[in-house]
Amino acid sequence: MTKKLLQGNEAICLGAIKAGMKFFAGYPITPASEIMHFLSRQKDIGFVHAEDEIAAINMVIGASLGGAKSMTATSGPGFSLKQEGIGLAHMMEVPVVVVDCQRVGPSTGMPTLGSQGDILQSAHGSHGDIFPIVFYPNSVEECYKYTIEAFNAAEDSQSPVILLTDTSTSHIYETADTEEIDKAAKIRQRTLEPFGKGTRHFTGLAHEKDAPKTRDSENYKRWIKRTKEKQTRAANNYSFYEYMGQKDSDTLLVAYGITSRVISPLRDRFAIFRPIRLFPILDELKIIAKDFKNIVVIEQNEGQYLHEVEVLLKRKIQGISVQGGEVKLSGIEEQLKVLGLE
């Protein structure tokens, strides 16, 4: 056992290197910049400080097709700019990893304060229907572990995988035992042949057999069915979550990322479900939720994941939204009182 003191963003870099990443392109943005800083110093990784966020996502798509496992990292404003590229990678079925270290938005918002405002954007940010796999670690050790899994899931699904963090999870320094994680880690090899071997045509247009099919509705229906099934099948290999606390309580708290750590003392009184794979939303939550009278989603936004959970459970649930970049246990406890649950 060797514990190292690491920052969340550094752990993401080390996880990416462990997963076999060979190319990174990015653009500076708080609170994601440390990822660029760290990777710019790595000699055996292709690194480009791109002219903008859009260039960065498109470079990693090109590099992935060229044969390199690739990643980009950003925060909310940049994540918005990358959405078209994420849709392209989804349509062309190119594995890439996109890290979004969330800060308070919309727009430039509060750049140095953390938030969880990009939850819906991570799943539905692109135009058209896409079905991305989204992970959200809540510690430095998990940043390492789930970056590796994000690369694995990208290979498994041949699609862009989103790794969410927040300012706190990205910037916190903690000890992490990466060697212990390495023992259990499986690194998925590439299946996509690098360019220069075939006659494939990767296009953002609807297509079939390497040729555009822009007016064939039946082909599109087949494509979206196949894609949805492919994403679900791949995601099922990565059903990560944590279920803890007083399981005989009548209230289940749902929280993720830094918020899940802030509420962890409440496990003495409540049951807590923490999704690590946020999307596709975990079926396991449906089974667990059956046993509870009250379900409360606690998150740093106006109820983005609450909405998704309600759709999953097909019942009315409650939410506590923590706004303004500050997340305190005392404030959440007060809100629970307001809901009549304390």
Binding site: I61, G62, A63, L65, P194, H201, T203
Partner: protein
């Protein structure tokens, strides 16, 4: 002799009768042939627009990405796979308009790719709107009273770099076009070939041309061959480079 470079089963192409893009595609393939390149040594990356559809007709691994983003996709591809000859084949709206930022920065990084920019001075696929390359006074769907603006200086953007390769040619001067493409591909670093192309349907007819022939004859009449110059005049075709 260039058949092997094409997916001929996809012909006829989407391009209008009289369009110049096909001429540029053909000369590009002939340049591959004359350079002795096998299909597996080349990749074409396109953006969106009429010219953007070119990638799909080439019989090799190709990419047809987002509007304006062919250059960064090509840069990532080249950096991950340096042995490939990576060619961007796309239009002026794509490369100079929406993708203009990448045209400033990829040459600055001297990425070893070749950009073939089909400059037809308009957004053809969307019906003929004003492009950054449209002539002053050009009547288009979004400049019905004539453009008030001077066209963008592509040559100036490329020549602003420490090292550069810039060629201007037209689809009338096919041997010169092929020579420009070949020399660009042999240049180590970022190389740019601007091919002045006729779009008779959505641009030419609104400027008073009746057919593609008249446009090509104007290229013949108006453009003079220049060599050994530091900078091309607006009515000159040729190559300027700095190692």
């Amino acid at each position: 002799m260039t058949e092997k470079y094409f997916k001929q089963e996809l012909f006829p192409t989407i391009w209008c009768a009289g369009c110049g893009i096909g001429l540029a595609v053909k000369e590009t393939a002939k340049a591959f042939k004359e350079l002795g390149l096998d299909n597996n040594q080349i990749s074409i990356v396109s953006g969106i627009g009429c010219s953007g559809r070119a990638a799909g007709y080439f019989n090799m691994d190709t990419i047809h990405g987002c509007h304006g983003r062919a250059i960064p996709v090509a840069e990532g591809l080249k950096r991950a796979n340096p042995k490939l000859n990576v060619i961007v084949f796309s239009g002026d709206g794509d490369i100079v308009g929406i993708g203009g930022n990448h045209l400033i920065h990829s040459p600055r990084r001297d990425t070893d790719i070749t950009v073939i920019c089909i400059n037809n001075q308009t957004y053809g696929l969307t019906g003929g709107q004003l492009a950054p390359t449209s002539a002053e006074g050009a009547v288009t769907m979004t400049s019905p009273f004539g453009s008030k603006y001077h066209p963008v200086n592509i040559q100036g953007l490329i020549l602003a770099n420490k090292r550069f390769f810039y060629a201007r040619t037209t689809v009338f001067h096919i041997d010169h076009m092929r020579k420009c493409i070949k020399e660009a591909m042999q240049f180590k670093g970022f190389s740019f070939v601007e091919i002045i192309t006729n779009c008779v349907e959505t641009y030419g007819k609104r400027q008073g041309y009746n057919n593609a022939y008249e446009m090509l004859m104007d290229y013949k009449k108006n453009f003079k061959m220049a060599s050994g110059k530091d900078r091309l005049e607006d009515n000159e075709i040729g190559i300027v480079r700095k190692e």
